[in-house]
């Protein structure tokens, strides 16, 4: 068994433990749980990072191309964002939703090594690495923004209905959730823009103008326009609550569509075996 599988499994177990212990932490708000969840998450992150580096080193490239590599990288970005939000805002509530997702994302890569390793001339191209890494960061931030909008909605409903106790009574304040939702979007915009630009440059060089008629590319441009529009609306009208959730969901749905469009794209299939 390769070493990265061992580290990944350790990380998986730690994420599993964190996913379970974060529930009483969020529900009860007791410090004793937080003292446990936080170090477990940090430990899981270290093992996860080591596993990913080892995995990529064994694959002889740094571009996450196969399903296992993308899942592991995306899960790591989710962990980093979650920890960053926790350190900045002390908002552990995100863990209740994100940690199980990370756990599920790692299940397959930790089960067995990748049977269909990807290797072609693009694997060592720095622009491809930039393109994929930036877009993964943008998707991660978009996911967190959507999650924050949902939490905002939950917190707003609780305060409106005057049901202060019970579950979710330890959610972050509305203003904090709003800041998280907005800032993740703001940071995500340059990542998405630069990621798409890097992809366009590669396409221009390799395929030419025909690349821009591909459904995947068109959807990507549509997603970017929607993203900018959402940011503009939020900034200038102070959009919050359920309308913000609808808008975030729409952009996220678009992002998923762009992802799925890989299957229908004729030119954006470099990662296919």
């Amino acid at each position: 068994m390769t070493m990265y599988l061992i580290w990944l499994r350790v990380a998986l177990v730690l994420y599993g433990v964190a996913s379970l212990t974060v529930i009483p932490d969020v529900l009860t708000g007791h410090d004793r749980w937080r003292k446990f969840v936080h170090p477990v998450c940090v430990s899981a992150f270290y093992f996860h990072l080591v596993a990913l580096v080892e995995m990529m080193r064994l694959a002889h490239h740094w571009v996450p191309a196969s399903l296992h590599e993308v899942e592991t990288s995306f899960a790591l970005l989710l962990t980093i964002t979650f920890l960053a939000i926790y350190w900045r805002y002390r908002a552990i509530s995100f863990g209740m939703f994100v940690l199980p997702v990370i756990f599920l994302l790692l299940l397959l890569p930790a089960a067995h090594p990748d049977h269909a390793p990807v290797s072609n001339q693009w694997m060592h191209n720095g622009w491809i690495l930039l393109h994929i890494a930036l877009l993964l960061v943008a998707y991660t931030l978009l996911l967190f923004s959507l999650l924050a909008s949902l939490l905002y909605l939950i917190q707003e409903r609780r305060l409106k209905s005057k049901q202060i106790g019970g579950i979710f009574s330890h959610l972050p304040p509305l203003d904090t959730i709003d800041q998280i939702a907005f800032r993740t979007l703001v940071i995500g915009l340059p990542c998405m823009t630069l990621g798409l630009l890097a992809g366009s440059l590669i396409a221009q060089e390799s395929v030419g103008a025909a690349y821009f008629l591909d459904p995947k590319v068109l959807l990507s441009i549509g997603m970017w326009v929607l993203y900018v529009l959402m940011l503009y609306v939020r900034r200038h009208t102070g959009l919050r609550g359920k309308r913000a959730v609808y808008l975030s969901s729409l952009v996220f749905l678009m992002a998923l569509t762009v992802w799925v469009a890989n299957q229908f794209s004729t030119v954006h299939r470099f990662a296919a075996p």
Binding site: T28, Q155, L159, D175
Partner: protein, 495 residues
């Protein structure tokens, strides 16, 4: 444990009785000195708050007439007071004190002030020598238990007063209240209190509005003279509290994050269309209406506007009551913690009875060893310094091995409360007088490194006497670099 506590509290006595026994903070020292002058009272402390007056004493023998003290000090008829007075002894005192410090015996369970009040009384009593070897460890433990209860349960987490519930809700909406703007509408007492609580949490500015501008100006003056407001006003150019004319109410309201309203108006002052206009001007930034007026000043329909939260007096009270019932649930966990701590402390108190005997035994054997070494000095004069050191080590080791079995027996007897065996051991080793001296002297003094050699060796060993060691026969540590620890510090390490 010759602990005796008598007192009255909000459960046992009405206010008329409590106020007759209340002792103002300025007279607490003098009252404690009077308590200490009662025959048989070795140590004493008085806790006097609006809800309780209690006299905690360590007596020897436990025969002091504290009722007599109350009769003399307060000049009251104690026969009439007797039905209201409770008395606790030994472990009951420990339990009561732990519950009081943990706020389990308070009128509002979990309120945080009581711990500060107990600490205040302790500080006064300690400063005049009322708290020593017997009450000090008990009080220290009570503070530790109170902290433990607060940390391990949520007993003090939720707010139970209208003003603090309002602050909590504002925090749930805005997070930090730093720099937030408040509008206080009307001159109701409750509204003023809520606004003050919000200002204490760091709100940046308060506008005051009333149908009569003079009243608003008066209130603004009051708020400006507040310590929290004054501190901020010096740092900012605009005044912290500002009266505004009633005509500009809606214009200013749009800039306020929190509106506290408590007027006597028969009609609502804030309507849904007003709130919608505010939100448009504010670019949907949330607003919080605290409506303490009856009849209501804020149209309940406003709660339907996105981003606006309206809480009236009933809503705030409902949250307070719900929080109170949550505290009652947490109190069950807290009681379990207190029960375990009382048992632990009581056990420890029994085991401490053996300390004087152990000290006496160690001193006695060390004295024998020193005398023998001194007697042999001339015969051993031909030995080198290394050989003399070896002899010194050998005799020390011998003494440690010899005293191991009796020390274990003393510890066992002390833990089981077997005074007969303790007395037998003291008699066999002729320790009665020494043990009595050891009891009278504070343990911390014995541990001082400046003490004569036998006492120092004994104090070094005493620290390890109650701490289980894998090899009890090993010589006591000769290192004296680390500061000696008092028994109370060591107690935390005991099981």
């Amino acid at each position: 444990m010759n602990l005796v506590l008598i007192g009255v509290n909000h459960k046992s006595a009405p206010l008329e009785v409590r106020e007759r026994l209340a002792i103002p903070a300025a007279r607490l020292e003098e009252a404690t000195l009077s308590l200490l002058s009662v025959p048989c009272v070795r140590e004493g402390m008085i806790l006097s708050t609006c809800n309780r007056v209690e006299f905690l004493t360590y007596q020897e023998p436990a025969q002091a007439d504290l009722l007599e003290f109350i009769r003399n000090y307060f000049a009251v008829d104690t026969d009439a007071l007797r039905p209201y007075i409770y008395e606790y002894r030994a472990s009951e005192v420990v339990r009561h004190l732990f519950r009081v410090a943990s706020s389990l015996d308070s009128l509002v369970i979990g309120e945080p002030q009581i711990l500060g009040q107990v600490k205040g009384s302790y500080t006064v009593a300690r400063s005049i020598g009322g708290v020593n070897n017997n009450l000090d460890p008990l009080m220290q433990r009570a503070f530790t238990v109170a902290r433990k209860v607060r940390n391990q349960t949520s007993i003090g987490v939720s707010s139970v007063s209208i003003a603090s519930v309002a602050v909590d809700l504002a925090r749930k909406i805005f997070g930090s209240l730093q720099g937030k703007t408040i509008l206080l509408m009307g001159a109701g007492k409750m509204g003023e209190l809520a606004a003050r609580s919000l200002m204490h949490q760091g709100a940046g500015k308060i506008y005051l509005c009333n149908r009569t501008d003079e009243r608003a100006a008066e209130l603004a003056e009051k708020f400006s003279s507040c310590p929290h407001a004054a501190g901020q006003s010096s740092a900012t150019a605009s005044p912290v509290a500002q009266a505004i004319p009633y005509a500009s109410l809606h214009q200013v309201a749009a800039t306020a994050d929190i509106i506290v309203s408590s007027t006597g108006s028969e009609q609502p002052i804030f309507l849904r269309r007003d709130a919608e206009l505010y939100m448009h001007r504010r670019k949907q930034r949330p607003m919080f209406f605290i409506d303490i007026a009856v009849p209501r000043d804020v149209d309940p329909e406003i709660n339907g506007v996105e981003g606006v939260f309206v809480y009236n007096i009933d809503d705030l009270q409902a949250v307070a009551i719900s929080n109170l019932s949550n505290r009652a649930k947490e109190a069950l966990d807290a009681e379990a913690i207190v029960r375990a701590e009382v048992e632990r402390y009581t056990r420890r108190m029994h085991s401490l009875d053996g300390v004087p005997s152990i000290v006496a035994l160690q001193e006695s054997l060390e004295e024998v060893r020193q005398n023998e070494l001194r007697r042999m000095t001339s015969r051993l004069s031909h030995l080198t310094s290394e050989e003399l050191h070896a002899v010194e080590q050998m005799t020390r080791s011998l003494v440690h091995k010899l005293q191991h079995a009796p020390i274990q027996a003393i510890k066992r007897a002390a833990q089981e409360g077997d005074r007969e065996t303790l007395a037998t051991i003291q008699s066999v080793f002729d320790l009665e007088h020494r043990a009595k001296d050891a009891e009278d002297a504070p343990i911390t003094e014995k541990a001082k490194t400046s003490a004569p050699l036998p006492a120092r060796a004994a104090s070094e060993s005493i620290e390890s006497a109650f701490v289980p060691t894998p090899d009890a026969t090993r010589p006591a540590s000769s290192g004296t670099d680390s500061a000696p620890k008092s028994i109370s510090e060591k107690e935390d390490c005991l099981p």
